[in-house]
Amino acid sequence: MSADSSISKETANPAVDGSELIRFDHVTKRFGTNTVLDSLDFTVSSGKHVTLIGPSGSGKTTILRLLMTLLKPDEGTIRVGGEYLTHEKKGERLVPAGEKHTREVRKNIGMVFQQFNLFPNMKVLRNVTEAPVHVLGMPKEAAEERAHELLDLVGLTEHVDKYPSQLSGGQQQRVAIARALAMRPQVLLLDEVTSALDPELVAGVLDVLRDIAHTTDITMLCVTHEMNFARDISDDVLMFDSGRVIESGPPEKIFTEPEHERTREFLSAVL
């Protein structure tokens, strides 16, 4: 899978100046009586690759789901590129966002799911072109050309005319990556994208993601248990426990000399 340098120009987003792209302010999320995120604050700069690690149930996936608006925070606000994701301004007041406003801000965000979630009723090519054509209003030919480029990038050129059910898990996940990139998002959310794959299929998917991380300016938020991968692509690693960030820093530091006892325990358990 060769890195295609032409992709980097195309996915380049206008604001890669290290400015703040994602901002969580006092975000709290509860499921029943269980507080999953506890007044969480954090920011991600544009173009950065951030990996969220921590024991299961520590709220990592919840963060991605909040950003994708699959969940709503109980308290606090989330901003993406300066725009409120969860709220909109009515004069000076902040009110919960309507569906339309949310959809507008959300267009800048793409997500790859643990279970791929390809549309089984569409062939591979249409999985990738459907949203650019019908959401972004791209001409069909342009969307298909772009889809072919992306499917080439993920090494699936010969499968464009198949249904997802005819592909292996690893191939489906690579289609899902192409599908997310086709929307030219500023932010790509990766939610344990290799956890549902057979071990021998993991490497292919991670190679594609490494490629994308190294050749594009896309901002990545990544929840993973693949620590080597996290070390390879991350600019920052956030260690979560009980809905809080207990430690953060560049991967060299977190993985080699973590300050927090809890981080040491976690890493010794997974590495």
Partner: protein, 251 residues
């Protein structure tokens, strides 16, 4: 059966045509009602859910025959005009079978994995686009077999209209019986006629089902015919199981 003259046969065959028409018209109305009510019952606004739920309960809980009488005899009192029996029957059958059908639509839509809707949200499809492009195409293959059952119920239910003097199969049969004075041959004939119609419907719906499944990339199911049962007993041929994932097992 030699007592039944050609003229009487013609009466029965005309009845078949009326029954077919009635089935097609009321099935079309029922399908529209089923989708509208079935989708409305999962709507995010409670008032829409309430009204569609009320429709479902009322029409499921009333007899199609009484509804037919009501539309034919009671509506004119209020509105001052009367539907011809054929349309009164179509309306009554369509509205009540549509209520049953709405349950099929609702169930099939609910059965589509929630993750599919999430994928739709992640790609910023509008709720209407999610429904049209993602949810309904996947729910549709699940609806076909129960719709087939309802369709056959509906076909048999059309016999009710003979009471109102619509000249369907059952009406034709009673005329022929009066003319010949013989019940056994006539009712045996129409028994077979209904069976043939139902059988043809089922065959048609099988084609629809196979087509629907192919549309979501599912290989058509192995036919459960006698022949395949015999051969399955001999060899456990694993490689025939259709599109096996290229890269390995599991997924």
């Amino acid at each position: 059966m030699s007592e039944i003259s050609w003229g009487l046969w013609e009466l029965l065959l005309q009845g078949v045509w009326i029954t077919v028409q009635l089935t097609v018209y009321s099935a079309a109305l029922a399908a529209v009602v089923a989708f509208v009510i079935g989708l409305a019952r999962a709507h995010r606004l409670w008032i829409v859910r309430f009204l569609s739920g009320a429709y479902f309960e009322i029409f499921r809980g009333t007899s199609a025959l009484i509804l037919m009488f009501w539309i034919f005899f009671v509506l004119p009192i209020g509105f001052g005009w009367q539907l011809v029996p054929m349309w009164a029957a179509t309306l009554a059958l369509g509205l009540s079978y549509g209520a049953y059908g709405s349950e099929v639509v609702r169930g099939a839509v609910n059965a589509v994995a929630p993750a599919q809707r999430e994928a739709g949200i992640a790609l910023s499809f509008s709720p209407a686009q999610q429904l049209r492009k993602i949810i309904l195409p996947q729910a549709w293959p699940e609806m076909v077999p129960p719709f087939n059952n309802l369709l056959i119920e509906l076909l048999k239910g059309t016999a009710l209209v003979s009471i109102m003097g619509v000249a369907d199969i059952a009406f034709g049969a009673s005329l022929v019986r009066n003319a010949t004075g013989q019940s056994a041959p006539v009712y045996t004939i129409i028994l077979v006629m209904y069976f043939i119609l139902a059988f043809l419907l089922t065959r048609g719906m099988r084609v629809v089902e196979r087509h629907a499944k192919a549309g979501i990339g599912k290989a058509p199911e192995k036919r459960e015919g006698l022949r395949s049962k015999l051969s399955a007993g001999q060899v456990g041929d694993i490689t025939r199981s259709g599109a096996a994932p290229a890269g390995g097992a599991g997924q």
